[in-house]
């Protein structure tokens, strides 16, 4: 059975993701939050612009920090999802290969309101290229600042794409490891870890944002 993106989006969208009396939304074995995308965007981009005013070294450090936020998000959110009962119920029956794990988690992402993610190229264990239509980061940037002179702004997505590859090919999330500090360091600080690069961004005039993850 091939991984069916539309079926995953429909199934995940049908899950009852609502808060309880503790003010939390337990789902996928973790906690979700309904968060204003604009809020996160504006903090990210204000921080980026402030760093850019201070110079290239500061700007580079800020971009790395914002991408690392994407690594953390991928690690806990995507890692948690891929070890959850919801995953076992919805996605796992469609999985036949390790590459299907990539397509499966991208199907779940497409139910989260982060834009429309599409696998453009996947070479197992080597490279993943994802294009994103209507990414919330580029949409937010364009709305607040207009077209950017240089560079992309989809930092969380960039860290997310690298995180997917690290979880599936570098750290083998299929064996259900504990999502702890040691595993995180192994995934993102090893010599063979995947790193993400945004090679095209709507905020810089592209039609779709494009992110490539390769081993560093």
């Amino acid at each position: 059975m091939a991984v069916n993106n539309d079926a995953i989006v429909q199934a995940v969208s049908g899950l009852r993701l609502v808060g309880n009396e503790d003010g939390l939304i337990p789902a996928f074995g973790l906690y979700l939050t309904r968060h204003y995308a604009s809020y996160y965007n504006r903090i990210s981009f204000a921080s980026l612009h402030a760093a850019e005013e201070r110079g290239e070294m500061e700007a580079r450090a800020m971009r790395a920090g914002l991408v690392d936020a994407g690594h953390q998000c991928a690690f806990f959110t995507f890692g948690g999802i891929m070890m959850s009962q919801e995953w076992d119920a919805v996605v796992k029956p469609m999985i036949e290969t390790r590459e299907d794990w990539v397509r499966g988690i991208i199907g779940v992402v497409n139910a989260l309101g982060w834009g429309v993610w599409k696998v453009e190229n996947l070479q197992g264990g080597k490279e993943l290229k994802v294009s994103i239509g209507n990414s919330y980061e580029s949409t937010g940037y364009l709305e607040d600042y207009g077209k950017r002179a240089s560079g992309g702004v989809c930092f969380l997505a960039t860290g997310g794409v690298a995180g997917i590859m690290n979880l599936i090919y570098h750290g083998d999330v299929t064996t259900r490891p504990a999502l702890d500090d040691g595993y995180y360091k192994r995934l993102f600080a090893d010599a063979g870890s995947f790193t993400g690069t945004e090679v095209a961004c709507r905020a810089h005039g592209a039609e779709r944002c494009e992110i490539v993850a390769r081993r560093g």
């Binding site: 309880n20 009396e21 074995g29 009962q85 919801e86 919805v90």
Partner: protein
């Protein structure tokens, strides 16, 4: 493992608040096992999914999730009951197994 064959798989804290307890029953969960869980105010069995995922919400105590025909259960225990998380989960699981 308890006398009825229930095994504790995972227990972890989330954000210092609710507590997640994962258990494995000695046999797969059956639909009728869900009937013995007390205090359920919202019951959902998503039979349209490739595997039938269920979710039972017991306010003030826990959210119980799993898959019918799979032996694993996950209890996400509310903050109000977090000190009794493992006890509550084991009690409920053993009642399910005993049916």
């Amino acid at each position: 493992m308890t006398a009825l064959g229930v095994t504790l798989l995972v227990q972890r804290d989330c954000l210092g608040g609710e507590r997640v307890v994962e258990l494995q029953l000695p046999r797969p969960v059956r639909l009728e096992d869900l009937d013995v869980v007390e205090g359920v105010v919202h019951r959902e069995v998503l039979t349209s999914l490739p595997r039938p995922f269920f979710r039972l919400d017991v306010p003030g105590r826990f959210l119980l999730t799993g898959i019918v025909s799979d032996p694993r259960l996950r209890f996400t225990v509310r903050m109000a009951a977090r000190e009794r998380a493992v006890e509550l989960a084991l009690e409920t699981a053993q009642r399910m197994v005993a049916t």
